[in-house]
Symmetry: C2
Subunit: 340 residues, 2 copies
C-alpha cells in the first residue's frame, strides 16, 4: 500500500542498513549511493512512518513552556490546555512541562534558560518579555541544541526564531474595526488600557488599533494608553481618573491578555451611556461578561490551538523538518455572545 524501507532498499538496490544510513543521515555512504536511495524515495514517494519510527526510537520529546508567573485567568487557561495536551500527546511520545517565572527579572529568566539540560529538554516555548539577556540566552540554547520558539508574545524579535501566536497588529486592527463599527458614529474618546506599553505586543496592538480608528472613524479620539502595571489599586485609580477627565468616553479597549481587573473596574463605574467595551482573550470572567452584555466583543486566540501548534512546531524543529507556516497560523477570533 505504502512504501516501506524494505521497498526502498529493493528499489535502490541496496540493503536496509544503507537505506537506514541515508534516511537518518548517518555517515559512511558514498554520495552516489545516497542519490540512488533518494531517487528511490522520490520514485516510490516514500514517507517515513513516523509512528513506527517513534515507537522504535522510544524517544520522548520533552518540551518546556516558560510562562510568566504573574498571570491571572488567561494564564490559567493556557496551563489547563498544556495539561490537556500533555495527556493527549502522551501517545505520540510528547511530554510537556510548565515553568512559571517572574517576568520582571531578565537575568533570572536568562539563567533559567541557561540551566536547561539538553539531555532532558528538547525544546522550549518561551512567553516572557523580550530583553537582550533573554535574546542571548536563546542564542546559547540554539548552540546547545535546544530548540526555542517565541510563544504568544515576542513575534519577530529575532527573525530566526519561530513564532506561535497571533499577529498582534492585526488583532489590534480587528479591535479597532469593531470599535468603529459598533460605535455607531457616536463622537467621543476611546480609552485604551494596557498592562504595560513596554512590551512589543502591546505596542503592536495599539498600532493596529490606532491605524484603523484614525483612518476610518474620525468621530473617535483614541486617548493615550493607560498602564496598569498589573496593580489592581492603580488600575482602579487611573481608570476612574480617566472617566472623570473625559466625559465623552465612547469606547474602552482593554488590550492586555488579562482583562479581569480593568474590566471589573470599568463595569462597576456608573455611567449614562455605556461605552463600547472590547477586550482580549476568553477566560471564565470575560466569557461571563460577554454573555451578560457587559462587554461588546472579545478578540481571542484559541489557547488549545496555541499549545498544539507550539508542539508541532517544536517537534518539527527537533526532527529537522520544515513546517507549513501557513498551517500554524493562529486565527484571530471574534466572539459575540451568539458564537461563544
Amino acid at each position: 500500500m505504502r512504501a516501506t524501507t524494505k521497498d526502498l532498499a529493493l528499489a535502490a538496490g541496496v540493503s536496509l542498513a544503507t537505506v537506514d544510513r541515508v534516511l537518518n543521515g548517518r555517515p559512511g555512504v558514498k554520495q552516489d549511493t545516497v542519490e540512488r536511495v533518494n531517487h528511490a524515495i522520490q520514485k516510490l514517494s516514500f514517507r517515513r512512518n513516523i509512528v513506527a519510527a517513534n515507537l522504535a526510537r522510544g524517544k520522548f520529546y520533552t518540551f518546556l513552556f516558560m510562562l510568566p508567573k504573574s498571570g491571572d485567568q488567561f494564564l490559567a487557561e493556557l496551563i489547563a490546555r498544556i495539561d490537556e495536551a500533555n495527556l493527549a500527546f502522551a501517545a505520540e511520545m510528547i511530554r510537556l512541562e510548565v515553568m512559571e517565572i517572574p517576568e520582571s527579572d531578565p537575568h533570572r529568566i536568562a539563567n533559567m534558560l541557561g540551566s536547561l539540560d539538553p539531555n532532558r529538554i528538547d525544546g522550549v516555548a518561551i512567553m516572557v518579555p523580550e530583553s537582550p539577556q533573554v535574546r542571548d540566552a536563546k542564542t546559547r540554547l540554539a548552540e546547545r541544541g535546544i530548540k526555542t520558539i517565541n510563544f504568544i508574545s515576542g513575534q519577530d524579535t529575532d527573525a530566526q526564531a519561530a513564532f506561535v501566536g497571533t499577529d498582534n497588529r492585526a488583532a489590534g486592527a480587528t479591535a479597532g474595526r469593531l470599535m468603529g463599527r459598533f460605535a455607531q458614529q457616536r463622537a467621543g474618546s476611546v480609552l485604551v488600557i494596557a498592562e504595560s506599553m513596554q512590551s512589543r505586543d502591546s505596542v503592536e496592538r495599539r498600532l493596529g488599533f490606532d491605524a484603523v480608528v484614525n483612518a476610518d472613524y474620525p468621530n473617535l479620539t483614541v486617548l493615550p494608553s493607560l498602564e496598569s502595571y498589573g496593580d489592581p489599586e492603580r488600575t482602579e485609580r487611573i481608570i476612574r481618573n480617566s472617566f472623570v477627565n473625559h466625559q465623552d468616553i465612547a469606547g474602552v479597549y482593554i488590550l492586555s491578555s488579562e482583562a479581569r481587573v480593568p474590566l471589573e473596574v470599568v463595569t462597576r463605574l456608573p455611567m449614562q451611556t455605556k461605552p463600547i467595551i472590547i477586550a482580549h482573550e476568553r477566560t471564565p470572567f470575560t466569557e461571563a461578561a460577554l454573555r451578560a452584555d457587559k462587554i461588546d466583543t472579545l478578540i481571542t486566540q484559541d489557547t488549545g490551538h496555541l499549545v498544539r501548534s507550539a508542539l508541532r512546531v517544536l517537534r518539527a524543529k527537533v526532527d529537522g523538518r520544515e513546517i507549513l507556516a501557513s498551517q500554524e497560523k493562529i486565527r484571530i477570533e471574534i466572539l459575540l455572545k451568539e458564537n461563544i
Copy 2:
C-alpha cells in the same frame, strides 16, 4: 514511564496472552480474572498505546465523505481539505475517499449508501439533504457496522447520529447580531437569500437571524427568504426584482454556503447607499470580496477543522471510544478584512 501490557500482566499475575484477551474482548477468560486485569489497568492507569496497536494491527481506517455534487467554491475548498487530510493522516492509518452525489435524488443516495461494502468502508461522513430514504439508509448502515456522522448539515435529524459542523441557529444569530450592529440604526429592509429553504440548515440559520434582528433591531425588517435553487439566472432575476420592489434595502444576508453567484449579482447592482452585506463561508471569491470591502463580514467555519473533526469522531466510533463532544465543537468564526 508508562505502563505497558507487560506491566499489566505482572501486576495482575497473569500472562500476556490473558491481558491481550481481556484488552481485546476475546472470549475464554473467567470473570474473576477479567476483574483482576481490569483492576490492574486502573491501578497502573494503563492506556493502550494506540500508535503501537495500529502498527501491529496493520489496520487502515477507510472513511468516505459523501458530498453534494452541485457545489461551487465551498465544496471545492472542502475537497481540498479532505485531500490534505488524506496525506496528513496516512501516517495514522487513515484513508479518505470522496464521493459526490446529485443531492436531488434521495433514492440514489440511499442506494449508494446501501451499496457500501463494510469490509472496505469503516465510516461515512454524510453531507446530503435529510430525507426519509437517507435516514433509513443510515439505520441500515449502522446495522451493517458502518459508522456514520452527519457532516456540516443535518444536525439533530436523528439524535443517535453524531454531528460535525456548526450550530446553524447560532451562526444565523451571529449574522443577525452583526447585521443589527453594523446597520447603525438605519431603518430598512433586509434581504435574505438562500439556495433553498427546504433544508433544515437554511431554516435554522434563518430562525437564528430573525430571532436576533426582530428582538433587538426594530429598525430592520427582514424580508421573506429568496430561493435561488442554485440557478444563476433565477438568482439574478429574483434579486433584481427585490431591489426594485424594496427601495429601502439596508442589508443583505446570503445564508447559503455557496455565496458566489448571489454575491456577484448583489455587488453588480447600482445603488445609492450600499447595504450591509453578510455572507457565509470563506472561499477565494468571498475572501476577495471581503478584502475589497464589497462585503462587510463573513461567518465561516474552518473547513480544515471540519474534516479533521469528522475523522476523529469517526475513528472514535470505529474504536468504540467515546469522544469529548466539547472538543469537537466547530467554532463559528467571524471574518473581517483585518483578521482574514
